[in-house]
């Protein structure tokens, strides 16, 4: 993407955000005039800046949980989706449970996980994995299933083994699907960790958020929320970079579709 296109893509949402923030500022300054109910954006920024060390120290464990949880769900989803691709009976057995896992309300089981696994990092990692694993596994499984049967036949006529076909056709063919799933999953990842900390933690943005709510520091609550949002958007953007790097052929496909 050229810098010019990037600018053209970014200015409308940035402009809209600026207008909304300005409206918020005016509303807080001239109408509500109560920082405990609705702090203004400038109040939020200055409160966040004052408490930057506390926010930083609490953000680190949250990001760590996100990272580990995501790595865990990444590995499990590849293993499961591959197993489902190799065996129809595994697929039939696993897929319904996969869907069921997605319907489990994180809020309800987060406290249970804390009871079971304690206040450490373990239950958070598990919850992040649980929240992100379905979109990853489902998109991968769909990507594998989408593979062209004729490509299979071509490779078999060349004498390729099942493994060779899997690595040569299915894995690269599934990558675009995987990245769609990755984008959905990554938006759940940090909020999954925050939810998990809500249920009990020594440190982390979730527990910090809860503490600030209890002392009516709405300005800091908003500041923490903003940090969570910025991190999530940054991870989201990272998936695009990763995709461009790992699937370099896609830009030509898009150009071809656009009719050159």
């Amino acid at each position: 993407m050229t810098p010019r296109r990037l600018i053209r893509m970014l200015w409308p949402p940035l402009l809209l955000a600026a207008v909304l923030l300005l409206g918020w500022q005016l509303l807080a300054d001239h109408s509500i005039k109560n920082a405990e109910v609705l702090p203004s954006p400038t109040q939020i920024v200055s409160a966040g800046w004052q408490q930057r060390t506390a926010i930083w120290h609490n953000a680190m464990p949250t990001l760590r949980e996100t990272e580990l949880g995501f790595a865990f769900s990444f590995v499990v989803s590849w293993v499961l989706a591959s197993a489902m691709d190799f065996s129809a009976s595994v697929r039939r057995a696993v897929y319904p449970l996969l869907v069921a896992s997605q319907t489990v309300p994180i809020i309800a089981i987060a406290p249970l996980f804390v009871v079971m696994f304690g206040f450490g990092i373990g239950p958070k990692v598990l919850l992040v994995a649980l929240a992100t694993f379905f979109p990853l596994a489902a998109s991968l499984a769909a990507g594998f299933a989408n593979a062209d049967g004729d490509a299979d036949r071509l490779l078999r006529s060349m004498g390729a083994s099942r493994w060779r076909i899997f690595w040569t056709v299915r894995v690269p063919g599934a990558l675009p699907f995987f990245f769609s799933g990755l984008r959905v999953a990554i938006t759940y990842a940090i909020s999954g960790a925050v939810f998990a900390e809500y249920a009990g933690a020594e440190s982390g943005l979730g527990i910090y958020l809860q503490q600030m709510q209890q002392v009516f520091r709405a300005d800091l609550v908003f500041a923490i929320v903003a940090v969570i949002a910025v991190c999530s958007v940054a991870l989201f953007a990272l998936t695009y970079l990763l995709e461009r790097w790992l699937t370099p052929w896609r830009k030509y496909e898009r150009a071809e579709k656009a009719g050159r």
Binding site: D148, D150, A151, R153, L154, L155, R156, S157, M158, G159, A160, R164, T168, V169, P172, G173, L175, T247, P248, W249, Y252, E253, A255, E256
Partner: protein, 252 residues
């Protein structure tokens, strides 16, 4: 050793049908003879069982009766109807696919196919991706991938079927010219009688399902075949004859 590089004798194939119904007969005693260095065309009505025949010849399926003998290394290089280039592989890496599957190292395989690019009109496109190429070029890459496997017989399934008419004619002229230099043994499946007459040394006309060879017509047009071949009186006669076989009751 027979005089044919590829031969089928009394090839039959049936598919089992559910519920104890009569099995579906697709091939019914099909005899095919292809000499070394010859282009043998197969033409027939749609749905006559050509894909079944291709699956058997390319080793994807096993016939229920009869025999297939292939000389030399004993297998064919199959070029499917769709180009089936992998969008994530560069042209060069698509071309080496067969060699790679055969166990050759990437580096060695690349070295082996490199000299072919110029002849296939693909020089300079080694590192391009398939989406950057025109339909005709993609088809040449698919053919290059097939040729690179160095198997004794090339099995081409409607190789130019998806191209526009002008590109198709250009590809036919190019294939005739390139074949002249290499003398590949080719089994060419096509719907296009003109293409069959122009390229082939023999045309096997198949019957509707269950398929057998209704007629084998030798195409004794002079080689090399060029754009002038289309204007020869024998060309028109042969085309007319084949059209007659395909549209008359002879076939059934």
């Amino acid at each position: 050793m027979s005089e044919f590089l590829l031969e089928t004798k009394g090839l039959t194939h049936e598919y089992a049908r559910p519920g104890g119904a009569e099995p579906l007969a697709v091939l019914d005693g099909l005899d095919l003879q292809v000499r070394e260095g010859e282009i043998a065309a197969l033409v027939g009505p749609s749905g006559c069982g050509k894909s079944t025949l291709l699956n058997i010849l390319s080793g994807l399926d096993r016939q229920t009766g009869g025999a297939v003998t292939i000389g030399g290394a004993g297998s064919v290089a199959y070029m499917p109807q769709k180009d089936l280039l992998f969008p994530w592989r560069t042209i060069e890496d698509n071309a080496i696919l067969g060699l790679e599957v055969g166990g050759l190292k990437k580096k060695d395989a690349r070295e082996q196919v490199r000299p072919l690019f110029a002849e296939f009109g693909l020089a300079g496109f080694e590192y391009a991706y398939p989406a950057q190429l025109s339909g005709g070029m993609r088809q040449r890459v698919a053919l290059l991938r097939t040729v690179a496997m160095q198997r004794p017989v090339l099995l081409l399934d409607e190789p130019f079927g998806a191209l526009d008419s002008l590109t198709r004619t250009q590809m036919q002229l190019w294939l005739a010219e390139t074949w002249q230099r290499h003398g590949w043994t080719i089994v060419l499946v096509t719907h296009d009688i003109r293409e069959a007459v122009f390229l082939a040394d023999s045309v096997h006309v198949l019957t509707p399902r269950p398929a057998r060879v209704a007629r084998r017509v030798e195409i004794e047009l002079p080689r090399p075949r060029t754009v002038d071949t289309f204007g020869l009186p024998q060309f028109a006669t042969l085309e007319r004859e084949l059209l007659g076989v395909l549209t008359s009751g002879d076939v059934g």
